[in-house]
């Protein structure tokens, strides 16, 4: 729950401007981007996600470093990814 996980924005949803589809280590799910409404996000942008909400925009280099780090911590990240995979945010 405390882990911030980086995701790449792959798609926006026309009818729901507060949601976006992101790719987190190959898991593609919808998350809420309402807290970054001033950021003018675009596909290909990276965001740091906490419990289904994008909290900050980060650059690609930071996203890669964060992913390396998370993959290194093992179980806690695996659990977070599994939880994300179960998620059906709408």
């Amino acid at each position: 729950m405390c882990l911030g996980i980086p995701g790449e924005i792959v798609e926006f949803m026309d009818d729901r401007p507060d949601l976006a589809k992101v790719d987190v280590s190959g898991v593609k799910r919808a998350i809420n981007i309402g807290l970054l409404e001033d950021e003018k996000l675009e596909p290909g942008d990276w965001v740091l996600i906490h419990v289904g909400f994008a909290l900050s925009k980060i650059d690609e280099e930071e996203a890669k470093a964060a992913l390396d780090f998370l993959e290194g911590i093992g179980q806690a990240y695996a659990d977070e990814l599994a939880a994300l995979a179960d998620s059906k945010i709408e």
Binding site: M1, C2, L3, G4, I31, N32, G34, L35, L36, E37, D38, L48, H50, V51, G52, F53, L55, S56, I58, D59, E62, A65, A66, D68, F69, G72, I73, Q75, A76, D79, A83, L84, D86, S87, K88, I89, E90
Partner: protein, 375 residues
């Protein structure tokens, strides 16, 4: 260094460690608190203390939200879960946190419907799918998760989902740091500031720590090098006689935080006069509750929770661990009666808790290295 876990850029780490060592004044001891449980995890996982000169000690702070939930609140949540037609939803981290009569897992075995969710929005979806049930979200966490709970309440209101509420246990980091600064047990030289909480609150709220208490604080990222760099920045401030708030993690943390997130929290929630923290006792203005205007989404108003205060188990020394007064292995029940499988205290439950982090990775800490090299 052969006892130390290898990690990326081990050379850079050693270079930084040398720079840190060069800043140590002979005969002086340094104590820095890492506020955030995520940092504790990194420190133990990578044996970072082994890179540091012996005169520098890292003490673990209260920044693991699962660890600070008091027994009474777990009991109240289970009480709600046991009411007719209730589905309780919770982050997985919460499932093992002990109350006075077991944890969520035990309540599930006794028939309560408690489901793990990834996000409060998943909980809202469960409410939508189960209109004849009352769905409650166990809201926990610091300012990193509070905006998510608040946004979910706003969404529930906007789409008219009326069978959804949150049991609000959100806590705020600043009063906890202040309580530690005011506690007579502990003398600290500076703080490693929490990275992700700061993405929301920014760096400004820490300024009183530097100004009024004369302690430097550096907001830090989560990788080993981030932490070493932050310790270097703290040491440099001390050497130059400065106490300032600095941002090592500026690639993620904006100085002003996330204004929208703060606005949303403020719309839905307000400070409680006081709140009990496990191990730390009552701290004033240290937690959030749902505002009157959103009363129908507030589980505390929807269900008359008993609200009984339950003392921590006698054997448990989590309070001392959360304040950094004791190291995890100094607790009498550490690793014997209290393990991640059978936790007595909360610090053993979450992977970010100091006791769990030490239990899982502690084999490379300084004391152990000394033991290992002695024989």
């Amino acid at each position: 260094m052969r006892f130390v876990d290898e990690f990326r850029d081990a050379e850079k780490a050693q270079a930084l460690a040398a720079q840190i060592a060069a800043l140590c004044e002979p005969g002086r001891q340094y104590k820095f608190m890492e506020v955030c449980g995520g940092h504790t995890h990194t420190i133990y996982k990578h044996g970072l203390e082994d890179y540091l000169p012996e005169s520098i000690t890292l003490v673990h702070g209260p920044g693991c939200p699962v660890c600070v939930i008091p027994m009474g609140r777990v009991d109240d949540a289970i009480f709600i879960a046991q009411q007719p037609d209730v589905i309780m939803t919770s982050f997985g981290d919460m499932m093992r946190v002990p109350g006075s009569n077991g944890a969520f897992f035990d309540a599930t075995a006794r028939g309560a419907d408690i489901r793990m969710v990834y996000s409060p929005l998943d909980s809202l979806k469960i409410a939508k799918q189960n209109p004849d049930k009352r769905v409650v979200f166990m809201a926990i966490g610091f300012e990193t998760t509070a905006p998510s709970s608040a946004m979910t309440v706003l969404r529930a209101k906007a789409v008219g989902i009326e069978n959804f509420s949150i049991f609000c246990n959100h806590v705020t980091i600043i009063p906890a740091i202040k309580a530690i600064l005011d506690s007579p047990d502990l003398r600290l030289d500076g703080f490693i500031g929490p990275g992700h909480v700061s993405t929301v609150i920014g760096c400004r709220p820490y300024e009183f720590i530097a100004r009024d208490y004369g302690k430097p604080l550096v907001c830090a990222g989560f990788e080993p090098l981030d932490l070493l760099q932050s310790i270097y920045m703290l040491m440099l401030q001390l050497q130059e006689g400065r106490s300032e708030v600095e941002n090592q993690y500026s690639r993620v943390v904006p100085w002003d935080g996330n204004l929208k997130a703060l606005e949303v929290i403020n719309e839905v929630m307000e400070l409680r006069p006081y709140f009990e923290w496990r191990g730390l006792g009552f701290i004033s203005h240290s937690a959030l509750r749902v505002r009157e205007e959103y009363a129908s989404f507030d589980a505390e108003r929807q269900f008359l929770v008993p609200g009984v205060r339950v003392a921590d188990p006698k054997a448990c020394q989590c309070g001392e661990v959360l304040k950094g007064v004791l190291k995890p292995w100094e607790c009498k029940v550490f690793g014997t009666a209290c393990t991640p499988e059978t936790p007595i205290g909360t610090c053993m439950v979450s992977p970010e808790g100091a006791c769990a982090a030490y239990y899982n990775f502690g084999r490379f800490t300084r004391e152990r290295v000394k033991e290992a090299t002695r024989s």
